[in-house]
Symmetry: C3
Subunit: 202 residues, 3 copies
Amino acid sequence: MLYFQQMLGTAVFAITGVLAIQKAGVDVFGAVVLGIITAIGGGTVRDLILDQPIFWIADFNYIWVGLIAATLAFFLTKKFQQRYRLLLYLDGFAAALFGLVATEKVLGLHLAAPFAVMMGVLTSIGGGIVRDVLASRTSLLMSREIYATPILLGCIVYVLLRDVFPTIQVAGWIALLFTSGLRFLAIYKDLQMPTILSTRQG
Amino acid sequence: MLYFQQMLGTAVFAITGVLAIQKAGVDVFGAVVLGIITAIGGGTVRDLILDQPIFWIADFNYIWVGLIAATLAFFLTKKFQQRYRLLLYLDGFAAALFGLVATEKVLGLHLAAPFAVMMGVLTSIGGGIVRDVLASRTSLLMSREIYATPILLGCIVYVLLRDVFPTIQVAGWIALLFTSGLRFLAIYKDLQMPTILSTRQG
Amino acid sequence: MLYFQQMLGTAVFAITGVLAIQKAGVDVFGAVVLGIITAIGGGTVRDLILDQPIFWIADFNYIWVGLIAATLAFFLTKKFQQRYRLLLYLDGFAAALFGLVATEKVLGLHLAAPFAVMMGVLTSIGGGIVRDVLASRTSLLMSREIYATPILLGCIVYVLLRDVFPTIQVAGWIALLFTSGLRFLAIYKDLQMPTILSTRQG
């Protein structure tokens, strides 16, 4: 069940990755590479830092799903753009899922909770940041979009709930609802970081 | 023999790396660092992902060859630019060689063929991409230049031929001719990706 | 003692990291992430290449110090800017210290001196370069600022002195004075790389 959702998340990240760069001139090779990087980049950097086997070497389905999704997104860009709003919500859900799964993975290695939260956020936003760097785009680190903050709060909530609830499943579902709920609210209301928490005024 | 060719390839990559950035303002330190990164960056990222010892720690000659070649390219830029066409062909040959050697390296670790192809392409184009990111240049992922596609096709051809031919030497030579031949054709005819395979029309 | 100085260096790097990007629009999350990356990025890449445990996983205080310093720098930007000159000198001292400590770390692993020098420079300037890439800024590799050269020379001097002096402490102090002295001179006199060592004339 979780496996299916992670593959769906991989596909969604690959698609939104291609849509993000399609306005710039890019050929099918570059688009597919950047789509796959969006999907797997965060987890790759996480596994390098943890000195764990890279997750997609153990299970190459992540690459195939990313490859197919990115190729479809390249050739059917307009179809996907008509569903952009839906994709944005799916992307928010996938980002929350990736962050929480990574947090649990690090806690399972008996590493400290603050480090687990850090790796959760990295897994979630790392791929998009690497894509933006490679595509010469302004990354979300330099924007006031509320994307990373819900994941940061959600991973902290998960770590706290995990000690309270008897099963990690319950803690996981609550944290997932909380994290994606925050992000959905930011999308729905078109929220931005308050100017007091941002250096560019106005 | 292969060792000599790889050192030649390292030198060529370092030289074309410096020539690529010399129009921007850069001092000798930056130029040499970026030249060396062009030469060894792709293989470095490959070894990090494979969790293998970085190839140039085991054999520091890669660094010395890159250092000397990049320094020469910095001080003798005009000389090298007069031979730019030749350098472009040598660069195409080196890229093909690096890609195929890396593919064989990964297959030798008994890892799957699609992964070997992926690492072959990464080894070949990774260094140039890291250089472009560090130098704030548009990377080849965002261009319609036919650079990565021949290597991708060539690595696939190599994997297929390797099962057919009795020795990997024969398969290797045919794949090398095929890969560099495709790239030479792209240079000679100044080919670009067809617009149907690119998002920027016209 | 050295531990305290390294924590001070981490704080200074995090603060100068935030000040470097604060003109661009960035929210508190992005600023803190980029500040921490400035402080720990170089050492992280070094440990990945060395295949050593990442230093801040073993001692998470580096993250906490970076986090607190970057947060203070975000909210008290003006206070810190009034002390910018002092910060610049402290940054030069921290860069020298990080480079020399890393050189010693690599020599302690019984690896070759040229490689140790290379890792020393990488540790020192790597974090700032990663920050600049993530923040779409021109990195110091593409500038004529005299920042990396003193560290390169200082790490070489350290390797040479280490064989001459009976204790590494004495060699370390002399190299630290030499390295930070060179950088202080470049700050004080506002020195740039001579045009003969740079591609952009004038």
